[in-house]
């Protein structure tokens, strides 16, 4: 590669032998990273591999126990976010991008507000903001409140702020989670431009397709250590996955059931605010995927079936019996369980322990005359930890300390503790690494084989096609097509999303 395209091989940032313990848990053990000026360097690894700890060290948010960080050959100490910024390292955190209550201009200049004698210099502030937005080719009104902007605009504002600090190393942590495909394309154009200007970009993402599209080189971490690094052009997705999980990438999606049983879930003319009169049947042993664009009504359908949102009309039948009410309690009583889209917001209590979370939906079953049996609660938790392969120190560990994949397993354990007839899952693997995803797919398939009807909503096309038996495409709240998953390909499904001929 170096022969074909001359690159500056002088390493700008060199991380060596970085180690960090959190309360006896090894987050980093001898992590290494070498990043050159003018390259996009993908930092890969499963959740818990140490990527985010490494990023936090570089951002000055976490202090390593040992190891060195060199910039241009000089050792640097990154004692605080300010120190990291002065050293020329900027981090773009997807969830900590902007302050919603300040204007666009103030967000861009945050921490560097131009001032004279303690007073803000508004004209200099506007100039600064305009200049940086122009460099990014953005025309966002600088007086608007940042909270009212779209995710891509907020990302651009955060990116503009890193330009203010003249960062030489720019770290992006899952920047595309909230962006649409066309927005991602725009972001990538800008990142390539910054790279060509000589910025070293460290790109952290779970989406391997993105990484292969964008990056020049990569580093893979596993269990807190660096296990592989090299040129993207001379590797394959399979190789990278192998390095990430430390074993052969088994078939990601489990085999489908040979036959299905009787109808378990029947939906007759269910309507809500977007969804208008949907009919649907799901059999025992079957996983039905609902596909569509965000806003098509796919997530609303699940909310309507779960009772989280009131149905304006229509009936839901489980095993031929009509669900008596419209609320969550009625749906739960009828055997409908729901795993919502935003895991951290609606799925788990991050401060609660594994036991708290798993037992919260079954308190009545675990209690006698109003007294909860701690022994039965612990029993259920232990059984769930074993059955779902939840990796936790024990039943008493706060769920917030688990990786995203294990949090999701806790959510599944919670809803499945009630042995539901129907399971509704919305984006079950968003932000979850490959290894945990495979386990969750296996769990869902086992469950369906045991007779539970499963309805899946996902914006991940390969998952939609790979996991489901049938794919039902919804657009504007109506079913527009139905495909057998084993014959569907991504193009036809996507064409259905957009309403093109399929």
């Amino acid at each position: 590669m170096n022969d074909a395209k001359p690159v500056n091989t002088a390493d700008l940032l060199v991380v060596d032998g970085l180690a960090k313990d959190f309360d006896g848990v090894r987050a980093l053990r001898g992590a290494q990273l070498e990043v050159r000026a003018g390259e996009i360097h993908a930092l890969l690894g499963e959740n818990g591999a140490g990527k985010s700890t490494l990023v936090k060290v570089l951002a000055g948010m976490v202090h390593p126990d040992s190891g060195t960080i060199r910039l241009d050959g000089e050792p640097v100490r990154l004692g605080s976010p300010r120190a990291a910024e002065r050293a020329g390292i900027a981090v773009l955190h997807q969830e900590l991008a902007i302050i919603p209550t300040l204007s666009v201009a103030e967000n861009i200049a945050l921490g560097h507000t131009p001032s004279r004698g303690g007073f803000v210099s508004w004209s200099a502030l506007s100039r600064l903001a305009r200049t940086q937005l122009e460099r990014l080719g953005q025309s966002i009104p600088i007086d608007r409140l940042a909270g009212g902007l779209s995710p891509i605009q907020q990302t651009m504002i955060a990116l503009a702020r890193t330009l203010v600090t003249e960062a030489r190393v720019l770290i992006l942590d899952e920047p595309t989670a909230a962006l649409t495909d066309s927005e991602i394309t725009r972001l990538f154009e800008i990142l390539r431009k910054l790279r060509d200007e000589g910025v070293a970009i460290i790109y952290v993402s779970h989406r391997l397709e993105e990484v292969f599209d964008l990056s020049d080189r990569y580093t893979v971490m596993r269990n807190g250590a660096t296990v592989a690094t090299g040129e993207i052009a001379s590797t394959t997705v399979d190789d990278v996955i192998r390095a990430m999980v430390g074993r052969e990438p088994g078939e990601l999606y489990p085999p489908r059931a040979a036959s299905t049983g009787p109808v378990v879930l029947e939906v007759r003319g269910v309507a809500g605010s977007r969804v208008g009169g949907l009919d649907l049947q799901v059999h025992a042993g079957e996983i039905v995927a609902i596909g569509g664009l965000a806003g098509s009504g796919r997530s609303e359908l699940l909310r309507l079936l779960s009772g989280a949102q009131r149905r304006s009309s229509g009936d839901v039948l489980v095993d031929g019996r009509k669900v008596a009410g419209k609320g969550v309690a009625a749906s739960l009583a009828a055997g409908i369980a729901y795993v919502p889209e935003e895991r951290r917001a609606h799925g788990v209590d991050l401060e609660g322990t594994v036991t708290d979370n798993i037992t919260v939906a079954s308190l009545r079953e675990l209690s006698t005359a109003g007294w909860m049996s701690a022994r039965r609660a612990l029993d259920l938790t232990r059984r769930s930890i074993a059955a779902f392969g939840i990796r936790a120190h024990g039943p008493g560990q706060p769920v917030g300390q688990l990786s995203g994949g294990n949090q999701q397993k806790v959510v599944l354990a919670k809803v499945l503790a009630r042995a539901p007839r129907v399971l509704l899952v919305d984006e079950p693997t968003r932000g979850i690494d490959v290894g945990a995803r495979a386990e969750i797919y296996r769990l869902l398939r086992q469950l369906s084989a045991a007779g539970t009807a499963i309805v899946l909503v996902s914006s991940d096309l390969p998952e939609l096609i790979g996991l489901a038996d049938r794919v039902i495409v919804v657009r504007n709240g109506r079913i527009v097509s139905e495909l057998a998953a084993h014959t569907a390909d991504e193009e036809t499904v996507l064409a259905g999303f957009y309403g093109k001929a399929s």
């Binding site: 900590l96 991008a97 902007i98 302050i99 209550t101 103030e106 507000t113 909270g147 907020q154």
Partner: protein
């Protein structure tokens, strides 16, 4: 995830009168109160003398509420401002009785307030206690100190020259109104136009983002609490001068009304932030209510009941407006 973290602000935009009603709801409420009391007792309520009364009554509250606004802009709040005002006033009174020179006594009183505020700031920003617990505790201790300083009784016999602060009437206007106006202008300018003011707003918006942008978050929080303590001290000293005596609990009740005023004022902005003009309108609503109810003959216990209901109404209103989609 990112979407869940941003607050979408829903204001009906299609219908202009409706939008003005949402945003100006607080001002409409104030005008409504004036109209109602004016209609009930026009000969007493709608006079220049009564207007002056109202302003005099709310002057000290507005100073303490302005101090509270600074803390709440930065995303914290301070339950101890009332007790701090009491203590500062009591310290000045006892020093004056002990024969200290007036300027020196006042400086010490202000420093006591500043120290109380900085203590809150260190507890919250450095020791990471929740503002609720930290300032509840300091409120209790500062209240105890006020009892110790006053010996549990009312301190009388303050020197005459001290009274110009709270009792003189240049241009027929009570002196506390001038102090309140100066404090209001200073706080407004600092919050709106200075770097530290914008940093406080940044903290109130999202502390983590501010920290990652290189802002010294702890220092900014400590400063905000320090300003609150200083503001409370100013209010407390003026109160003692105006009343001519210092009691062990004299200014404690201002805390609740100050927080109420800031909450009311937050409804004035689309973004739901604390802001000084809004706080002043909130203070006026509380002042007009209390004055009007007095004139109409409703006792002060009922007034307190109504203030609580107003806070609930105001917060419910802003919750409605900033509800997520």
């Amino acid at each position: 995830m990112a979407q869940a973290d941003t607050v979408s602000i829903s204001v009906p935009t299609s219908n202009l009168p409706l939008r003005l009603l949402w945003q100006g709801g607080l001002i409409v409420a104030l005008l409504l109160l004036i109209v109602i009391f004016g209609a009930l007792r026009p000969e007493v309520f709608l006079t220049v003398g009564n207007l002056r009364n109202i302003l005099e009554q709310v002057a000290i509250l507005s100073i303490i509420a302005a101090a509270q606004t600074v803390v709440m802009v930065a995303g914290d709040f301070d339950l101890s401002v009332g007790a701090t005002a009491t203590l500062s006033g009591a310290v000045v009174a006892s020093l004056l009785i002990a024969g200290w020179a007036l300027p020196l006594a006042i400086v010490v009183g202000l420093l006591v307030g500043l120290a109380a505020g900085l203590t809150n700031g260190v507890l919250v920003a450095s020791l990471r206690l929740s503002p609720f617990i930290a300032t509840l505790a300091t409120m209790t201790s500062i209240g105890g100190l006020a009892y110790i300083v006053t010996g549990g009784t009312t301190l009388y016999g303050l020197p005459e020259e001290f009274f110009w602060i709270g009792q003189s009437r240049p241009l027929e206007i009570p002196m506390p109104i001038f102090f309140a106006a100066v404090v209001a202008v200073i706080v407004w300018v600092v919050l709106r136009f200075t770097v530290i003011g914008r940093r406080w707003y940044a903290l109130g918006g999202n502390q983590d983002v501010a920290r990652l942008a290189g802002i010294n978050v702890s220092l900014a929080r400590v400063l905000a609490f320090g300003v609150a303590g200083l503001g409370a001290a100013i209010g407390g000293i003026i109160l003692v001068s105006r009343l001519g005596n210092a009691t062990p609990t004299g200014a404690n009740h201002y805390m609740l009304y100050a927080i109420a005023a800031v909450f009311l004022g937050m409804t004035l902005l689309r973004s739901g932030q604390a802001n000084l003009p809004g706080t002043l309108v909130g203070v006026l609503i509380i002042g007009v209510m209390s004055n009007g109810l007095n004139i109409v003959g409703v006792n002060s216990y009922v007034q307190q009941l109504l203030i609580g209901i107003i806070i609930i109404a105001a917060v419910a209103l802003s919750a409605l407006r900033t509800r997520r989609h």
